[in-house]
């Protein structure tokens, strides 16, 4: 069981993440007035928000330290926050600013913070092999660091994930695969894409530990993740942990969700993990105003990050030519400096 202070920490991360997504949603949509145009506004491009997934982030990351590695998929913010990614620089990245984590080159699906060993990939399940590789590095270097790969329940039919399970099990690697089951892969319900209700059963065919948390509850995740992370840290191999969460917003901003029954959205609303976490705090004697204080702190932190980010400079167009390589070859890449080519006078 988490201590009261751990509960408070998890709660703070969870409400920070929730607030963050709500505020990004506002910022994003505001820029798309009057007609929704994906490339308009201060946050362009796709935006996948994770409101409703917080329990999976905070319940797992509570067990992690900076040197542990996390790879996240296309829906990364809540995990980034729980892992301790620099919120200002992450926000600046999402707003496409030069002081963003990736100098504006990455965007919201490509957040990297080497300080806390966080990375993403926007391609389904493709964060799994690098997490296995990070775990392999930990084992080779004889540290007791672990790696955690997050993926959605829609990703458990992708080869990259399944191959990773085998590799991790074979070498008893310190890695935990966390499947966030939000019932949907864009418009496809889980039952349409696999016959297995309990995604952790995928582990069975690889002799890997599998476990599932059926309730959207940070403490239940904390418990299961504690075992899984402990197993990894102690050299006892990987775990596949599926966690029930809920998608409170569309798959991406702008998703009309016309495929989604009203009742399903309502159910997701009702099963939210944040009020449940609040109740736990109250049950542990935490007062309402303390809870309110945490929320305010979270809101302030989010606001600070957004205000800071929006104040940051845009990248200079010329910067586009940098960073494809760490050791950039001379004269590379060829710039489109247009010049007459019909003489030798180039």
């Amino acid at each position: 069981m988490p201590s009261v202070s751990e509960l408070q920490e998890m709660y703070e991360q969870a409400v920070t993440a929730r607030r963050y997504e709500e505020r990004l949603q506002e910022e994003y949509l505001e820029g798309k007035q009057p007609a929704f145009d994906i490339s308009a506004g201060p946050i362009p491009g796709e935006l996948h928000l994770a409101a409703g997934h917080e329990a999976a982030a905070v319940g797992v990351c509570q067990h992690l330290r900076d040197s542990d590695v996390v790879t996240a998929p296309h829906r990364p913010h809540h995990v980034a926050i729980a892992k301790g990614v620099d919120l200002r620089r992450m926000t600046a990245e999402i707003f496409g600013r030069r002081t963003g984590l990736s100098k504006g080159k990455g965007g919201h699906m490509h957040l990297y913070d080497p300080e806390v060993n966080f990375a993403c990939s926007g391609i389904i399940a493709q964060g799994c092999p690098p997490a296995v590789g990070a775990a392999l590095a930990a084992k080779k270097r004889n540290t007791d660091d672990v790696a955690v790969a997050y993926l959605g329940e829609g990703a458990i039919s992708q080869g990259a994930f399944l191959e990773s399970l085998n590799l991790a099990g074979l070498h008893d690697l310190p890695v935990v695969f966390v499947v966030e089951d939000n019932d949907w892969a864009i418009s496809m319900p889980k039952g349409r894409v696999t016959d297995v209700d309990d995604g952790s059963r995928r582990a069975d065919g690889f002799a890997v530990h599998g476990d599932r948390v059926d309730v959207d509850d940070a403490v239940a995740v904390y418990e299961a993740a504690g075992e899984a992370v402990g197993r990894a840290r102690n050299g006892n191999g990987p775990t596949l942990l599926e966690v029930q969460v809920h998608r409170r917003m569309g798959h991406f901003m702008g998703d009309p969700e016309s495929y989604r029954p009203e009742a399903d959205a309502e159910r997701a609303e009702a099963l939210d993990s944040i009020p449940r976490l609040e109740e736990r705090l109250r049950a542990h004697g935490v007062e309402d105003d303390e809870i309110e204080g945490i929320r305010e702190r979270a809101n302030d932190r989010v606001e600070d990050a957004i205000v800071w980010a929006k104040d940051q400079p845009q990248p200079d167009p010329e910067e586009a030519y940098e960073d494809a390589f760490t050791q950039q070859p001379e004269g590379w890449p060829e710039r489109p400096e247009v010049a007459a080519t019909d003489g030798g006078e180039r």
Binding site: A35, F36, D37, I38, S39, P44, G45, E46, E93, G96, R97, R98, G100, G104, K105, G106, G107, M109, H110, S121, G122, I123, I124, A125, Q126, G154, A155, S157, Q158, G159, A160, A185, I186, S187, M188, R192, V193, T194, G254, S258, Y259, Q314, P315, D316, P317, E318, E319, A320, Y321, D323, A324, W332, P333, E334, R335, P336, V338, A340, T341, D342
Partner: protein, 342 residues
């Protein structure tokens, strides 16, 4: 199928977006032939993230408009297997950028089976896929990969730029006995949430018609400079030509298919103008623009006065607006390049 002359766009007033035109061809083929079906992620209830199947579920049901698990190797390879049995599947790779999770099925099975079987087995399928940037979807969702697909033998590669072409090329693609990769540019589809430029929305005749592969379309005749391009950049090139009108008389060629490539139309134009600007949205080196310059050098060196290419530089595609705009070839880049070869 007897080849009849396609009715021109001038035969109708009915304008369609590119996505509507593409779907119209698919619908018509599905109605005609029970063996045509569509597989992809979010193609059923959602109607395709980029409207590539919008409305088909209602008519054909989940058996013929199949949502599939996110396992592209599995279902694209599945389409190959069904096609080898003589069915005519259409499989959708949601973004071309995801090719790497399933390229073996595409390259080693879909594209090579006809050859490896000495022609005894064919693979009559269409692989549809969304390409292109301009909306800040960053490094893993903005590629076109035209050159990557055109380089590998055994697939025909189609890139429509207008609704009229999108329909005709789709009819041809589905009826073709070989694998066809049909690359539609998101920015051209006419999506409610991603405004298309002027141009892709065109008159589209109601009846089915085919546009033959390997016939480039001279979109605008001109005497001074040849601009060869495809997809979104057809419209940018036309805009550039408009801007230059009076100053430089620009000929604009829309390749429409990369495999087969209509070298003759390109060479004819280059022999006339002596000046070639190759434009595309793919990475600059070892791709389409290089091939075009090479073919011009091979076939019309004596007439060639100047060449230039306009493409995405050899870096992954960046996210932030000023950065993406820098790497994405724009109208002004084409204008500049045309001026440079003059």
């Amino acid at each position: 199928m007897a080849q009849v002359e396609a009715p021109g766009p001038e035969t109708t007033d009915r304008e369609l977006t590119m996505s509507r035109a593409m779907v119209e061809a698919i619908r018509s083929e599905m109605e005609e032939n029970e063996e045509v079906f569509y597989m992809g992620e979010d193609v059923a209830d959602y109607g395709g993230i980029f409207d590539s199947t919008q409305g088909l579920l209602e008519e054909f049901g989940h058996d013929r408009v199949m949502d599939v698990p996110i396992s592209e190797t599995g279902f694209i390879g599945g389409a190959v297997g069904a096609a080898m049995q003589g069915m005519r599947p259409i499989a959708e790779l949601m973004f071309v950028d995801f090719f790497g999770v399933c390229m073996d099925q595409i390259y080693n099975n879909m594209a090579k089976t006809a050859y490896m079987s000495g022609g005894s087995v064919s693979v009559p399928m269409v692989l549809t896929t969304a390409v292109g940037g301009t909306y800040n979807d960053a490094a893993q969702h903005s590629g076109t990969l035209y050159g990557t697909f055109a380089h590998l033998p055994g697939m025909k590669v189609v890139v429509p730029s207008t609704a009229y072409d999108a329909k005709g090329l789709m009819h041809t693609a589905i009826r073709d006995d070989d694998p066809v990769v049909y690359m539609f540019h998101k920015r051209l589809m006419g999506l409610a949430w991603m405004p298309a430029p002027e141009g892709p929305k065109t008159p589209v005749p109601e009846e089915p018609y085919e546009i033959p592969f390997g016939e480039a379309d001279v979109k605008r005749e001109g005497e001074d400079v040849t601009v060869v391009t495809l997809g979104l950049h057809v419209h940018r090139a036309l805009e550039a030509a408009e801007e230059l009108a009076g100053e430089v008389d620009v000929e604009v060629i829309d390749l429409r298919t990369l495999v087969p490539l209509d070298t003759e139309t390109v060479l004819d134009s280059v022999r006339k103008t002596g000046r070639l600007v190759a434009v595309d949205e793919d990475y600059r080196s070892f791709g389409v623009t290089g091939e075009l310059l090479a073919r011009a050098a091979e076939g019309a060196l004596e007439d060639l006065e100047a060449v230039e290419r306009v493409a995405t530089p050899d870096v992954p595609i960046p996210y932030a607006r000023p950065l993406e705009e820098e790497v994405q070839p724009g109208v002004e880049d084409v204008v500049e390049a045309v001026r440079a070869v003059r």
